[in-house]
Structures are given as structure tokens and as C-alpha cells.
């Protein structure tokens, strides 16, 4: 038996003496006898009866209540609890009550409870008898517990003892009478009766006009109001929360008008329209000589030898472009298939690459990989440009006609595999890593494969030179057109290694093939490797939705990726699936309840989300900014647009949330320095503006808060409106209270300062830095 009496008793004795001593100073009710009641008088196995006792004269922490068959000995208890209501000791209680959960295996019959003293078998009182009838208690669970109006919950019930086809589920406010249902369905899952079911589940679509607040669902028998079960509470958040969250994921930030628009056309309607929304461009930049002519100074130098115009247009496109989804996806792709100013000095060269990403953002991934490979900007950045075969000893012109002593450059071969397509370890389709029989990770390729690909990637040179700008004349390197195949005077591919090559998964290039044929086959070999779908899908999810997607989410998206491998709209299809997935939309599990859900907004997103929410007027000069001695641009927050430190981009996908066992890639650039710079950007834009400073900052950046002033007299309304716009609804009570204290410290007459104070506190908060 589990009740070990002896040692406990001795301790209990001491404790009891102490209690007696203490009780001496309390008024005692004289001569009252202990009593014990059990109700209700009938229950079921697994059900609960409430034990109520009074007047234990010398209560101890180890007084206990046992469940018995009437007439059996006190030692023959079936189950027990202390007066703490559990099997752990609590306080001594002269009088009290406890729910006593009957064992699920209890057989039908008559039972009683007994109150026993001090871990022993001396009974103080015996309850009324109660009956236990066979059967189970019906249960009802509604999930998710946090949801938006118009959302779908799943109502799952069990244990209807006598199911009928007209059992029904209603939606209620918690305090409402059973007759005051808001909406209902039969257990058929519709308003038409279907089949009966003791245990089943139904989707229950909440009314679209449901007011935010608390609700529950209830299960009733047979078209009547006999309540069988009540669900957990439901919290319905404000009206547009789901739409606002969607726009945080799919765009550079929700605007008031865009929220209203998507409210009308719906999320899927918006996605449909985005597919064909007119594409924004980067400004056409003339191709200049690599070395700046001495005559090119001032604006000429700024526009042709710095990234000023490109970075500025990146921001104006993000702030004002209609093709938000395309831009957002292109920005994500640009952080996976990276080029950087680090080795691409001229903005006209980078423009070619960024235009390619815009154009390919909704296209086919294999095609994108091919186009990136022959793009001259990538060719320069990762050294496929001018890469040449090695002259063999003895020379063999059938393998290498015009080579070098040295071996081909390995740079592009390594990074296309490691970063652009398959990664370093074999993956399952859900993005987790495969293990071999010994539990070890399995490398996707080795150094030999890298060297083989480096020989494939030989023989490409720039397309014929372009005419220089009219004021300069001459010719300039062609970073406009795809790279071309180097041919000697007899039109032979003299830089290409024509030897046989062994690629991924044992695929062989036999050698002697045309250079373009080999490249196509090699790109196929990479792009159709089974790692690509989970590797790229997971990163796109992380860029758009959440840093820690569930494996099943990754798997669902990877299957869309794989199924559309030959579709000309593969990436669009994948992105659409990412954004409509239950894990993004919260259909299965409300993200608000998931501690690891969401992503830290990267600096660009932080800036554009804040500006778009308040209809900023901006010249787009937001990358590198020093205002009043404070560095507050995205570059100053460690995201220098188009100028990542290396092909590994701004932050590693493996970076963790500080102090946590969770991924948080963007935390790789979130430090004491950059976190304060984010707050300082908020301070600058909310309390004043980024002033114009011609010529390089023609109008500056400012937001208009005048429409918010009327809300300021009521702090709650002001905070709730900001909550809806910036946090899509789930601001915690603690946060609300904190913001309110600061707002109410300001006289209501100073409406603008109240608005600014509330907005600053939210915009600078960690709660806003994290897109959830």
C-alpha cells in the first residue's frame, strides 16, 4: 500500500501538538461533531463528487478523505485525497470542501466517502451514500482557444451516453443562459441533422461579425436544452487581426487602406491579385566604366558609383509599390541567393541582379537557379565569371583547350550547393536532418563533388561590351546580359573543362558535351535534389512567417514545392501555400498561444512596417541615416540593403534567440547597439521627423499623426486602436496597463503627446519587434 504510516505518524504527531497549541488561542466551537457530505448523490466513473466537511476538532495537514464501499473496513479504501484536495499535503482544515474525482475504472454501485484523521484509520465522519452509474461524462473541447471573428474552431466531444442525430453544439457568451445561443450546429456539423455520434468533432465557423470578447461552446442533447458538456473558454480577438497579421507576413507592412481592401476582397482574393500586380522596377542606371572617370563627380558619382539610387528605390518601392508580395518574396530570395556590393561595386551591375529577383519572385525555382548562375553579377560575385579549365599534364585539348596551370575556382560550386539549393546535410521532407544507422548526420556532398562542379562552371565570360555613356564614349563591361560561352577564333569552347564529371547522387556527365548542355544538366542535378524542397521552403517560411516552423508545416510546403517543380509559377504557389497554411493563419493552433511563434522583424521590415502604418511621406533615404548625431538607418541596424557582409547574408539561419533554445535568425543582428538604434528610429519618426537635407535627402521622411489625436482623450481607445494596427490585437493586459500609465501621465489636452507616447512605447517594444 502506498500509505506508509509509521514515519509520517510521528511527524504528524509533532505537528498535531503544534496545531493544538495554536488552536488554544483560537475560539473553538464547543462540542460540535465532525460531519461529511458527498454530492451530487449520483455520478459516473471518472466523474466528480464534492466532499464537504465541518468541525474537525484537531485538524491536521494529513487528515484525509477516502472512497469506500459501504460496510468495508477503513483500511479498504478505493482511493483517497488529503484535505488539501490532492495527494500532496496542504494546510490543516477544520472545515472545507474538495472535489473528489472518482476513478475512471470504478464499477457501478453505491459508495460513500469517509473522513479520517491524521494519516491513520480513525474515521471522523462518514458521508451519505451515492450511486455510481455506468457510462461516462461527456466532454467538449473547442480549439484554438484564441481566434478571430469568421475563423473556424474545432469542437470535439466525447462520451455522449445516448447520442442522437439532433444533439447540438451552441456558441455562447460565458454568462448567457442555455437558451441564448449565438449560433449552433448539429453533431452532423451543419444545421441539418445527420448521424448520431458519441465522440466526434466538427469545424464550427464563427460568425464574421462576432464582437471581440470571451465565449464558450456547449453540447446539448436531442434538440433540447439538457446541457451535456461545456467547453473551455474561447477568446475572440478584434476584427481585423487575421488580416493584419497576414499583411505583416505578405507585405512590407499593413496600411489602413490595405487592411480595408483585403477585408473586402479576402486573403485569397488579395493573393490572386498580387500574382498579376504590375511589377515595380529599379531605376534604369547607365553602365559606366569600372573605374570612375575623373569628370564624374557629385550626382554623377553618387548615382553611378554608389548604391544610393538603388537603396532609395528599394525603400520607395517597399513603401508605396502595389506589388507588395512580389517585393517581399524578392527580398527574401535576395537573402538566400545573395550577391553583395562587397564585390559588385557599380549599382548598374547590382540592378541587373535585383531586377532578376523581382522578375523571378513568382517563377520556377530551377529556372531561377539557372538564371542566377549565368547572371553576370553573380558570376562576378562568386567567381564563375572567367573561371577556366586547368591545362592537364600532358595537355589534352579535348579536355582543356586553353586553360591555366591552376585548377578552377571552387567558389560558386561550393556556395550554390551549400547556400542556394541543398545545404550541407541530407534532409527529410519536413526539414529535419536525416541520420545514418549510427545516428550521425549525412553530408550532402564532399570536397570532391565541389571540385567536380567547379569544372562544370568553367568557360563563361561577359557578354560583348556595351557602349559607354554618351559623355564618356568607349565601351564598358556588360553586366546587363547573361554571361556567354567563351569561344576561340575557331568557335571552340576553349575555357571549358570537357572531362567527365561525377555530380550529386552519382550522376555522371560523360564529358565532351557542349558547355551549355553541361550547365543545364548540372543545374537539373542540383535543382531536383530532394533537399531543395525542404531547404528552400523552410527558409521562405522563416523569412515570411515564423522562425521555428513545425516540421509538419515545412513538410506541407515542401510537398507543394516538389509537386510544382516544373510549374512556371512554382515559387508563387509555394508562397501562397506558406501564407494560407493553418500555421500561418492560426486555424489549427492559435499562434498567440505558441511561445516560439513568430520572427523578429528584420531592420528593413521594422522601418517599413512603422512607416506604412502611418502613411509616411518619404523620399526612401532610409538605408544609411545619421540624424542629429544618431545612426538610425537600416544599415545602422546591421541590414545594409544589397550590401550584406558576404554570401552568408546579414544573419545566419541557425542563429538562436538569446538565452533560449529556439531559432531566431534575425537575432544574429539584434544587439545592445542595434536594439537601441531601433528605438531611436522610432523616437525620431514619432516625436519629430527625418528632415529634408537636399540634395541627397530631398524631402526626408515624416508620418502624419493628426488623425490619431481625437482618440487621445480616452487612453484605452487609443491603445486599443494602436494594438489593432501594430500588434493585430493580442496586446496583453500588462502591456496595456503599462502604456496607459505613461499616456495618462500626460494631460488629455495634449492629445498629440499622448499619441506619440503610446506609439513610441509600442513601436520600441519587444512585443512589436517580434512579428507574431
Amino acid at each position: 500500500m502506498k500509505r506508509d504510516l509509521l514515519p509520517v505518524q510521528s511527524i504528524s504527531f509533532l505537528f498535531a501538538c503544534l496545531l493544538v497549541a495554536l488552536s488554544a488561542i483560537k475560539p473553538l466551537r464547543a462540542n460540535a461533531q465532525p460531519s461529511l457530505g458527498a454530492n451530487p448523490s449520483s455520478s459516473v466513473p471518472g466523474g466528480t463528487v464534492t466532499a464537504v466537511w465541518t468541525d474537525i476538532s484537531s485538524p491536521t495537514v494529513v487528515d484525509w478523505i477516502g472512497l469506500y464501499l459501504p460496510g468495508t473496513a477503513n483500511t479498504a479504501y478505493i482511493d483517497w485525497i488529503y484535505v488539501s484536495c490532492s495527494k500532496s499535503r496542504g494546510n490543516a482544515e477544520a472545515s472545507g470542501s474538495c472535489p473528489f474525482v472518482l476513478p475512471a475504472s470504478l464499477v457501478a454501485g453505491t459508495y460513500e466517502l469517509r473522513l479520517l484523521a491524521n494519516d491513520g484509520y480513525a474515521d471522523l465522519a462518514t458521508s451519505n451514500a451515492f450511486t455510481v452509474t455506468a457510462g461516462t461524462v461527456a466532454t467538449l473541447v473547442a480549439s484554438p482557444a484564441n481566434i478571430f471573428p469568421g475563423g473556424t474552431i474545432t469542437a470535439a466531444w466525447t462520451g455522449i451516453a445516448a447520442p442522437t442525430s439532433t444533439d447540438w453544439i451552441g456558441l455562447f457568451q460565458p454568462s448567457a443562459a442555455d437558451t441564448a445561443y449565438i449560433d449552433w450546429i448539429y453533431v452532423s456539423c451543419s444545421k441539418s441533422p445527420g448521424s448520431a455520434g458519441a465522440s466526434r468533432s466538427c469545424p464550427f465557423v464563427l460568425p464574421a461579425n462576432l464582437a471581440p470578447g470571451a465565449y464558450n461552446t456547449r453540447l446539448f442533447s436531442n434538440d433540447g436544452f439538457t446541457r451535456l458538456a461545456t467547453s473551455n473558454p474561447l477568446t475572440v480577438s478584434g476584427g481585423n487581426g487575421n488580416l493584419v497579421r497576414f499583411l505583416e507576413q505578405a507585405t512590407f507592412g499593413p496600411t489602413q487602406s490595405l487592411i480595408a481592401h483585403v477585408g473586402q476582397v479576402g486573403i485569397e482574393g488579395y493573393l490572386d491579385a498580387q500574382r498579376t500586380a504590375p511589377m515595380m522596377d529599379y531605376p534604369v542606371l547607365e553602365f559606366w566604366p569600372q573605374t570612375r572617370p575623373a569628370t564624374c563627380t557629385g550626382d554623377c558619382q553618387r548615382d553611378n558609383y554608389t548604391y544610393y539610387q538603388l537603396q532609395r528605390h528599394f525603400f520607395t518601392n517597399a513603401l508605396y509599390g502595389q506589388d507588395q508580395l512580389r517585393q517581399r518574396v524578392a527580398f527574401a530570395l535576395g537573402q538566400i541567393l545573395v550577391t553583395s556590393q562587397v564585390d559588385v561595386p557599380l549599382p548598374s551591375w547590382m540592378r541587373t541582379y535585383q531586377q532578376l529577383l523581382y522578375q523571378s519572385a513568382f517563377g520556377n525555382f530551377r529556372q531561377l537557379l539557372y538564371d542566377v548562375t549565368v547572371n553576370p553579377t553573380m558570376g562576378r560575385f562568386l567567381d564563375m565569371l572567367n573561371n577556366r579549365c586547368q591545362t592537364r599534364t600532358p595537355p589534352n585539348v579535348n579536355i582543356c583547350r586553353n586553360g591555366l596551370n591552376s585548377q578552377p575556382n571552387e567558389n560558386y560550386a561550393r556556395e550554390i550547393l551549400q547556400l542556394f539549393s541543398i545545404g550541407t546535410f541530407l534532409l527529410n521532407q519536413d526539414g529535419t536532418r536525416q541520420l545514418d544507422g549510427s545516428g550521425n548526420l549525412i553530408p550532402t556532398y564532399d570536397q570532391t563533388i565541389v571540385e567536380e562542379f567547379s569544372r562544370v562552371f568553367t568557360g563563361w565570360i561577359l557578354a560583348p561590351a556595351l557602349p559607354g555613356p554618351p559623355s564618356i564614349g568607349g565601351t564598358v563591361p556588360n553586366y546587363r546580359d547573361p554571361m556567354r560561352i567563351r569561344l576561340d577564333s575557331q568557335a571552340r569552347e576553349d575555357y571549358h573543362d570537357k572531362g567527365p564529371k561525377s555530380l550529386l547522387n552519382g550522376f555522371q556527365l560523360s564529358g565532351g558535351q557542349a558547355q551549355a548542355v553541361e550547365l543545364g544538366a548540372a543545374i537539373d542535378n542540383i535543382a531536383f535534389h530532394s533537399n531543395v524542397a525542404p531547404f528552400i521552403s523552410k527558409q521562405l517560411i522563416q523569412h515570411l512567417v515564423t522562425s521555428n516552423p513545425s516540421p509538419t508545416y515545412v513538410e506541407r510546403i515542401a510537398s507543394v514545392f516538389a509537386a510544382n517543380a516544373n510549374s512556371p509559377t512554382q515559387i508563387y504557389d509555394v508562397v501562397r501555400a506558406i501564407l494560407l497554411d493553418p500555421e500561418a493563419r492560426g486555424d489549427f493552433i492559435d499562434p498567440v498561444t505558441q511561445p516560439n511563434y513568430g520572427k523578429l522583424r528584420e531592420p528593413v521590415q521594422f522601418i517599413t512596417n512603422l512607416l506604412r502604418a502611418f502613411n509616411a511621406n518619404s523620399d526612401g533615404v532610409l538605408n544609411s541615416l545619421n540624424v542629429g548625431g544618431s545612426a538610425i538607418g537600416s544599415a545602422d541596424m546591421s541590414q545594409d540593403v544589397f550590401n550584406a557582409p558576404s554570401v552568408f547574408s546579414f544573419y545566419p539561419p541557425t542563429a538562436r534567440v538569446p538565452g533560449e533554445n529556439a531559432l531566431g535568425p534575425q537575432f544574429g543582428i539584434f544587439s545592445s547597439l542595434t536594439s537601441l538604434r531601433r528605438a531611436n528610429f522610432a523616437n525620431r519618426i514619432i516625436f519629430s521627423n527625418i528632415p529634408a537635407a537636399p540634395p541627397n535627402r530631398p524631402i526626408g521622411t515624416s508620418i502624419d499623426l493628426s488623425s490619431w489625436d481625437p482618440l487621445a482623450s480616452n487612453a484605452d481607445e487609443l491603445i486599443e486602436a494602436l494594438n489593432q494596427l501594430l500588434l493585430h490585437g493580442p496586446m496583453s493586459a500588462e502591456m496595456r496597463d503599462s502604456v496607459k500609465i505613461a499616456v495618462e501621465s500626460i494631460p488629455a489636452s495634449n492629445a498629440r503627446l499622448r499619441v506619440r507616447t503610446a506609439l513610441y512605447l509600442i513601436a520600441a517594444s519587444s512585443q512589436y519587434q517580434v512579428q507574431r
Binding site: 562587397v342 577556366r388 585548377q407 570536397q447 545566419p652 538569446p658 544574429g668 539584434f670 544587439s671 501621465s745
Partner: protein, 471 residues
Amino acid sequence: MTTTRREFLSRSLGMFGAALLAVERFGLLNALAQSVDYRALVCIFLNGGNDGGNMVIPYDDYATYSAARSPSGLAIPQSSLLRTGVVPGVGTEFGFHPSLTGLHDLWGQGRLAVICNVGTLVEPTNRDAYRNRTVQVPLNLFSHSDQINQWQTSVSNSASPSGWGGRAADKIGDFNTTVFPPVTSTAGTPIFTIGNIERPLAIAAAPTRLDAALRLDGFPNPPDNDPRYLQMQHLLLVDQDKTLVRGASRVTSEAVAMERAIRFTGDPAVPPFPLNPRTSLGNQLEQIAKVISVRNELGMSRQIFFCSLGGFDTHNGQVVTGTPATGTHANLLLQASNAMKAFYDATVLLGVASQVTTFTLSDFSRTWVPNGTLGTDHAWGSHQFVMGGSVLGREFYGVPGSNGTVFPTLAANGPDDTDVGGNARGRWIPTVAIDQYGATLASWLGINSSDLPAIFPNIGRFSTANLGFML
């Protein structure tokens, strides 16, 4: 009662507001007796994989070098090398790249040592063991991201959530009588700086003033009675049930508290800085020298600093055609050498030259045999510099390898190469583990030998935990 760093870290997330801490911090400033017991490590990470082969070059055996690197145009002319004299531990003479005049000067002063053929290892590894995989080799050799992580974590056989600088800081935190973080970085928060307990303070490099190296705009000074300031801090303590919010608040709380501390430092001059012209690494080391100059005011006895210089991934255009002593790599080495020399001189003027040790790390070395685009590709073991008044300088250190010396055998397809056959590129298998290199430095900093395995989990697999290059 002063608050220890450890208490600060455990409290800052829960019931302890940053405002209160800032006040305590202010109370500590200037209140401490000068600490004579001061030691600091300064890590310089050369991002991209520095070509050790063109940094430390055999002078006596120049022919071997020239044969490998001349055909591709990468060989530095023998006449331009900065000669070392006969290196005692090797018995032959070497030369530094001609850009390294500053470091060569320190070599002459006995303040600079070279650690040879050091790299990522899981256990001691030679060519046969590597080829036959009879030992565990580091995961994803030749990959930048993985090798950077392994250099910074000293763990090459799994993914480590913390770095060896941060873990060393976990152990030294209690030396300091302050809540100021023991790890300060001018280059973000790479994993080197992250401990199991400790988190780095990232600050702006010079020419940003030290007292503005962290700044929070828009509040009165002092801000303590400003309701918005108080509530901003309070918000950092709520919604702790959300992982990413908690992580962001952790970083920001510390930033807000330390911004208050650093406000009172002024902007001390640390000659010979600033460099003219200013450089990225020079600006970082200048700011680090400034922090060191206010070590007593900050209450610091032990510190670890991190800075970095990028651009070493020289697949292409490493040298200029025809003038191989110039070009990308020469410029990078020049920047590193000038900044390091100035930093050493600054520590002399601050009176802490023997209390500050500066060392380099890098992803990997580069292929001994170049590629066809005036560049080199990813390799493995490399050479690193250690600089300071407590360095036993003018010597090469390491573990003797295939030729009986600490310097590798410079032969593609030779006894130290991973590669075989006629196309072998010369990727040296390290004879020294980063664990040993780091443990020597950490021991000098004051880490007990019993604590080394917590910082360098694989240290027990290697012959020695002290390479002997520190006093």
C-alpha cells in the same frame, strides 16, 4: 551592497528593473579602488579565411614556396619579405608579408608570436587518419559558416549554442565588481561572445564617442522620473511567456542599463589613435582601447573584446597581376598590421601592455596551390598572430608535425595535405587544435585548469592544454 554580474543576469529578466540597475551602476562609477589586477583578451576575427600561406613565408626554403605559387602569379618576391631571423623553434628563417611592417616591428621587440598550423579538430588527426576516416573530422570542413562557428565555439563535432569567449566570460564574471558585461564587441554578437550565462555588450566603433557608443534618444537626462522611460523599461519585463519577445527584451534591458553606465565615461583619448586615415579595424581597436582606459571606473578586472575585419575570402584578385605584393590581401594585411601595432602602442601608453593580449582567428587558411583567377580557395590549418607584453614573442609555437617542426610541410599531396593526387591543392591538416590555442589564452586570463573542459569540451583529447606562448 553591490550587485554582482551573475545576480544582475539572473534578476534582469524577472523582478529587477533596468532603471534600478542603472542607478546602482551610477553609484558604482568612480567609487572603486583602482584594480591593479587587470587582464584582457582581444580577439580579432579575420572574416573570409585569411591566406596564411602568403602571410608567413619560408625565407630559407623560398624555392618550395615559389614553385607552388609563382605559376599562378601569387608568390610574394623574396626580396620584399620582412625577415624574421632564424626562428628558434624551427631552426630556419621566415619572412612576413611586406604589408606587416607594424607586426614585424613587434616581432623584433619580442611582443609577437606565431601559432603555426592551427585549426578546427575533433581529435588529433594526421593524413592517414583523415583519408581513412579513422578519426572524427570536423563537420563541414571548408564551409565558411561552419568553420567560423567551430573556431568560435571550439566545438567541431556538433552545433554549440555558445562560444569559447562567452564561456570563458562565464567563469571570469565574478572577478569583476560590477554589472558591466565582461564581453564587449565592436562587431555585433557573433557566437564567440555568447556564453551559457553571459551575453556580450555590442557598442559602436570609433569615431563614435565612447560615451555615445550606446545611446538612447528622446529622454530627459537623467530620465528616471520620466513616465515613458519607466514604462518602456517595465514593458521589457512583461510578456515573458513568448520566447522571441523574451529574447529581445533580454538584449534591450541590458542595453538600456549599460547605456546609463557608459554615459559617464566621457571620450578618453588613446594615442596613437586615431589612425590617419581611419580604417575599420583601427576604429574598432581604438574604441576597445578607450574602454580599457576606463576599466577602473567600470570596475573591470577581466575583460574579453571582439572585433573583426572582413574581405579575406580571396578567391579572385588576391594580388595584382605582376605586382603580387599589392592587391586585396596586401591591403587587408596592412590594415590589420597598422591597427594592431597602434593598439599595442596604445596599451603601452595606458600602462597595460602586459595585461592585454591580442590574438587573431580566421575561418581557415587557403589552398596552397592557387586557382586560376589570381586567388585561392578554402583550406584548413592556418597561422595566427598573438600580440602583447605577456607574449613570449619572436617565436613560432605549435605541435611538431610531419617534419618534426611546428611548421607544416609545404607540399601538395604531401604528408600534411588533405588532398591526394596530381590535382591536390594543399589544405593543411592542423597539428594544433583551436582548443589548445584558446586554452593557452584562457589560462593566462585566469581560468583554472579545472574549468578548461567547460570552455573547451574536447581539450582532453589533445597533447597539451598550454602551448607555452604566454608568460
